[in-house]
């Protein structure tokens, strides 16, 4: 699953993610991050079974963590099921079902936002 970690000015001062990895022994993959001097966020991919352990290990001052859900908002009314988003997305969030209807698997999304930018019908948006 995907975890969204957000840091405030205290949180960015300390190697929180590294510490949590060492403390819990859980491997995580940082898929997207934006961190500067006084705030930041990181999107982590972690095995479902290890998520709770990692969340516990990371809970510290200046750090908030939540499970990233429903990152892609798909407006069914505007969508015409053209499928352009399918090959643009590098994380295979989008696919067709057997009736050529678009299926969205938000779990895989790393919030790059490309699908929202290039959807011809403006039917997709990303919720961080």
């Amino acid at each position: 699953m995907k975890l969204m970690v957000e840091f405030d000015s205290d949180g960015v001062q300390y190697p929180n993610i590294a510490a949590a990895i060492l403390r819990s022994g859980v491997m995580v993959n940082v898929e997207r991050a934006l961190i500067d001097g006084d705030e930041g966020w990181a999107l982590l991919d972690v095995d479902d079974k290890d998520a709770d352990m990692f969340i516990t290990a990371l809970s510290r001052k200046g750090v908030s963590i939540r499970i990233q859900k429903d990152a892609v908002s798909h407006n069914r009314t505007d969508c015409v099921d053209c499928g352009l988003c399918i090959s643009i997305c590098q994380k295979q969030v989008f696919s067709f079902d057997e009736n050529w209807q678009l299926v969205v698997d938000s779990e895989r999304c790393v919030l790059c936002g490309r699908c929202a930018t290039y959807c011809p019908q403006r039917a997709l948006s990303i919720q961080k």
């Binding site: 499928g83 490309r114 290039y118």
Partner: protein, 502 residues
């Protein structure tokens, strides 16, 4: 055996007509044979739903009290062509708003009207004795117009090239967003469900053929613009009454970085009159071939990467250079099926009857490119043919000397066969000196990805290339990467000053 259009219409009237979609036809022909299928099936419905840029509508507003002869006109800030009589216009799908640019255009105006929304009209005129008014601003809805006739110059391509991008920069095209280094493929068209794919010889479809367009019962006007059926790229000019259309089948869209387009649902019923027609409608995606072309080159004749069938495209991945590349459509197959199904329902319920075309369309025609007769200034007229080069093995210090001697800021790097392999600039050399790296070899500091241009490219294209990459010079090379000259940005200043103009 053959069947007449009157027999088919008689069956539509008495409710006994048998209609199937083009998707079902191959299996029916396999099962019953061509003659059996002709006996059993009366009409095959086709459908497509994709981006059709060459679309628009004629609107008539009626005369205002104190009439005006509208000469310039905007609908929701999208300019419409007003050079047709006093209160008529043509709104083109791709025309963009003066305020919202590519987020709103002619296609959106059309979709808004069809959805029942009110649209603002603003028009200007010089004023005449018979039409004294000089401006008008008003709101109108579709129902208030006398006529709203959709007339699409080029719809329903028989097939279309699939697109990929072999360059190392992502590009924004009318085929969607193409990732660098052929990491995706996009394609358009409904394959075996596509209208012209089921009548490639245009033996049924012609002027006057009744069609489904945007939800209305419309008509084929005739040959579409740029139609090239002799090369497998036929198109149709279509028309229908906008007042009978629905936004289920007409959708405005924006291809980001390219502009506005309109998704149109077109369905054409094919009456099965003889065995040849039946054979054509039995086409499968496996039989329909197109080319994947490289949109990463700016030229008209884009290189063909490989041939591909619609079956391969629809599978979701296609092999290029031994790699599986993900591919996806930009036309909607689900909607194309809905078009074919809706058309089938209309025929079965008697609200849509068949007719023979009144004029055939030339099925051998091949489209010609533009022959530029006007004066175009090419790169080879503006480039500098005296230039200095260096090899990759030589030192940075040598590069510095060469730059000074050549009085230039750009030094192309060549291999032993004089082919371009990189470039170093005064900036690169200064940086190396500042870091005490003057004894390094040129190949260690050079930029390998050189922005080049062909000698026969128009200079305005060269100017755009310089601007896009934010660089000061382009290396002019031939097809074997031998350097022919350098094109410096300051040389293009001469264009304004006189050289290269007439």
């Amino acid at each position: 055996m053959y069947k007449s259009i009157d027999e088919i219409n008689e069956r539509i009237r008495d409710g006994s007509v048998r209609v199937v979609s083009a998707e079902e036809m191959p299996n029916i022909v396999d099962e019953l044979g061509v003659t059996g299928a002709l006996r059993d099936v009366d009409v095959v419905t086709t459908g497509t739903f994709g981006a059709m840029c060459s679309s628009g509508a004629f609107l008539n507003f009626g005369h205002s009290e104190i009439p005006i002869r509208m000469e310039k006109m905007w609908l929701n800030n999208v300019e419409a062509y007003a050079g047709i009589a006093a209160v008529d216009c043509f709104i083109g799908a791709t025309q963009e708003s003066t305020t919202r640019h590519s987020e709103y255009g002619g296609a959106h105006v059309i979709e808004d009207l069809i959805a029942g929304k009110s649209v603002e009209l603003h028009a200007r005129a010089k004023g005449t004795d018979c039409y004294p008014r000089t401006s008008i601003t008003n709101e109108f809805t579709l129902q208030e117009l006398n006529q709203a006739i959709m007339l699409n110059p080029r719809n329903s391509y028989q097939s279309y090239n699939a697109a990929t991008n072999m360059s190392d920069q992502a590009i924004k095209t009318y085929m969607g967003f193409l990732l660098p280094s052929h990491r995706n493929i996009t394609y358009s068209g409904a394959g075996c469900l596509s209208p012209l794919a089921n009548d490639p010889t245009l033996s049924v479809i012609g002027s006057g053929t009744p069609i489904f367009i945007g939800g209305a019962n419309g008509v084929v006007v005739g040959e579409g613009t740029q139609s090239s059926p002799g090369a497998g790229f036929g198109t149709l000019m279509t028309s229908g009454n906008m007042k009978e259309m629905s936004s289920d089948y007409i959708r405005a869209a924006t291809m980001t970085g390219y502009g506005v387009t309109m998704y149109v649902g077109v369905g054409i019923p094919i009456p099965l009159l003889n065995e040849e027609i039946v054979r054509h409608t039995a086409v499968r995606d496996e039989d329909l071939k197109t080319n994947i072309v490289d949109y990463g080159t700016p030229f008209r004749d884009r290189p063909v990467i490989r041939e591909v069938t619609y079956a391969q495209l629809k599978s979701g991945s296609v092999e290029i250079d031994g790699e599986e590349v993900r591919c996806s459509p930009l036309s909607s197959y689900k909607k194309a099926r809905e078009v074919a199904a809706e058309l089938k329902t209309r025929i079965e319920t008697g609200s849509f009857t068949m007719a023979l075309a009144t004029r055939p369309i030339d099925s051998h025609k091949i489209n010609k490119p533009m022959a530029e007769k006007g004066y175009v200034c090419h790169v080879n007229e503006m480039m500098v043919s005296t230039f200095v080069t260096i090899t990759g093995e030589e030192s940075v210090k040598e590069a510095a000397k060469r730059l000074l001697k050549g009085e230039t800021n750009h030094l192309p790097v060549i291999d032993s066969e004089n082919r371009l392999i990189g470039i170093v600039t005064t900036y690169d050399v200064s940086k190396a000196f500042a870091k005490d790296e003057q004894d390094m070899s040129v190949s260690e500091i050079m930029t390998k990805n050189v922005i080049t241009i062909a000698p026969d490219a128009p200079v305005d294209f060269a100017a755009r290339t310089l601007q896009q990459h934010n660089i000061g010079a382009l290396v002019v090379i031939d097809s074997s990467r031998h350097i022919l000259g350098m094109l410096n940005s300051y040389d293009l200043g001469d264009l304004v000053g006189g050289r290269g103009r007439r």
